[in-house]
């Protein structure tokens, strides 16, 4: 009877993380870089500015995004091909993985960290899983019209155990309340033509969706759902034609600076400054091209902007005190994404076609490091774990 016991001991040793023998470490300064074509992610240390591990065999990561567990130990990776992978950052290994859709664009983690939701194109809808086991908890089909289903975009978590998301084809915003053991309670709102993405205010109150099929933005106030969706629209000058959009803007939190939202326009080469009280567009800042990401530094003093083709080799930095572009950087070809360290002293920038991630000091704009990465796209740091709507 000793044999099975002996085997059990060996099995346990085989599964012990390699870091158990090494120093203990925290995960608060860790992050993930998506290597979109290689189907791999790098795990990086933002204090040391180095790679500490990698996880491979993750499928099609062409639009992969990441959210983090509440304890900052795990990254949940949402792959374009519909794969959902729970990655252990400390052991650089896959804790759990499943195929949950054919085509997926992102996901979110709930307010209490217990649920993971996925934003799916095919089949159109949102699926909800236990964050621990990845067991399916709910399947919300994005049905509309006469038996049609819509692509789902702009999925975020919200207070009150809710997820908020937009239906691109249906032109709607849905608010789903999810409690374990109960069926989801879903409220639906007409938003506007083709909401293509959305973000949440830092307090989890305002959900802002960008519209592609018509001008303007759609805003839902979660404290006043009865009021429905509000439209935010600039006065357009005559002859203000829409320009071709080679890449949609990607709305991602961190866009509220004091009393003003800084939001990318779609089809216009400009940034819209929106007063958060009146929802009026108070300023339109002309830009070099179609903005994709518009992200505020954690201290709100700067806004960093990257662009779609053909201007996707540059970064512009706006000083929020003067509302002017104060610096332009050219890190290389195809600047896809950027992520600030939690208090914003550094920014990490993925430069896809140079197979590089560049780390800049955000005060001096000096390069602090260059890391090799295979066609890097998204960069995500664990501090996101404690932000509503990220």
């Amino acid at each position: 009877m000793k044999f099975p016991f002996f085997v059990a001991i060996l099995a346990t040793l085989g599964h012990m993380p390699s870091s158990a023998a090494a120093e203990l470490r925290g995960t608060g300064d860790l992050g993930v870089i998506v290597e979109r074509a290689a189907g791999r992610v790098q795990i990086v240390d933002t204090s040391q500015r180095t790679r500490i591990g990698e996880v491979a065999q993750l499928g099609d990561l062409s639009h992969a995004t990441v959210v983090f567990s509440r304890d900052e130990r795990y990254a949940y990776l949402f792959g374009r091909d519909g794969a959902l992978t729970k990655i252990d950052l400390l052991t650089a290994s896959i804790a759990k993985r499943l195929e949950q859709a054919h085509n997926s664009v992102g996901g979110a983690i709930s307010q209490d960290g217990r649920l993971i939701a996925t934003s799916n194109y095919t089949p159109g809808g949102v699926k909800v899983f236990s964050a621990g086991t990845l067991d399916l908890v709910a399947d919300i089909q994005a049905a509309y019209g006469e038996g049609q289903t819509s692509k789902v975009v702009g999925l975020v978590d919200a207070p009150g155990h809710r997820f908020v998301f937009s239906l691109f084809d249906a032109g709607e915003i849905w608010v789903a309340e999810l409690k374990i053991g109960q069926a989801p309670v879903v409220q639906k709102f007409k938003a506007g033509k083709e909401p293509y993405d959305a973000l949440m205010s830092p307090d989890g109150r305002y959900y802002i969706a960008g519209l592609f099929g018509e001008e303007g933005l759609a805003v839902l106030d979660l404290w006043n759902l009865n009021a429905g969706v509000k439209r935010v629209l600039p006065d357009f000058a005559k002859g203000d034609d829409k320009l071709p959009v080679f890449k949609m803007p990607h709305l991602e939190g961190r866009a509220l600076v004091g009393d003003y939202w800084f939001l990318p326009a779609v089809g216009h080469h400009e940034l819209w400054v929106v007063d958060r009280r009146s929802w009026q567009i108070v300023k339109r800042i002309a830009l070099a091209g179609q903005p994709v990401f518009v992200i505020a530094r954690p201290d709100d003093r700067q806004i960093w902007i990257n662009y779609a083709l053909p201007d996707n080799d540059r970064l512009d930095i706006i000083d929020t005190r003067d509302l002017a572009v104060v610096k332009t950087l050219k890190p290389g070809k195809a600047v896809l994404h950027m992520e600030f360290t939690p208090k914003g002293e550094d920014i990490w920038v993925s430069v896809r076609d140079d197979d590089t991630v560049v780390v800049y000091d955000t005060e001096t704009f000096e390069e602090r490091a260059r890391l090799r990465a295979d066609k890097p796209s998204g960069i995500f740091f664990t501090a996101r774990a404690h932000r509503l709507g990220l």
Binding site: A37, L61, D81, N103, T122, M248
Partner: protein, 105 residues
């Protein structure tokens, strides 16, 4: 051939056959196809915001329609016009590549 007569044949040569881009340009276009077209159509062309572009989806659609879609976009959809970023013969080369499902640059 003298320079003059070579130039006279050029428009016909372009019209008759999609002249292959230079190897360096081919590399750039293959990268554009996979990475930038792939942003909406999927890195493996299985679709995303845009429809899938695998050979079975392109079957029955004439080259001229696909080249025209690349150059002029599709009004009312998210497909932008790429004219100015790629030439007509480059668009034809990209269509051929999609039809043969060569996805790696």
């Amino acid at each position: 051939m003298s320079k003059g007569s070579w130039v006279a044949w050029l428009p016909i040569a372009v019209a008759c056959a999609a002249e292959d881009p230079s190897p360096k340009r081919q590399q750039e276009l293959a990268n554009l196809l996979q990475q930038d077209c792939g942003s909406c159509h999927g890195l493996r062309f299985k679709g995303g915001l845009g429809p899938p572009l695998l050979p079975e989806h392109l079957q029955g659609k004439p080259d001229i329609l696909l080249v025209e879609t690349i150059l002029n976009g599709r009004t009312g959809t998210a497909m932008p016009p790429w004219r100015g970023l790629v030439t007509e013969s480059e668009a034809a080369w990209m269509v051929e590549r999609l039809r043969s499902n060569k996805t790696e640059p």
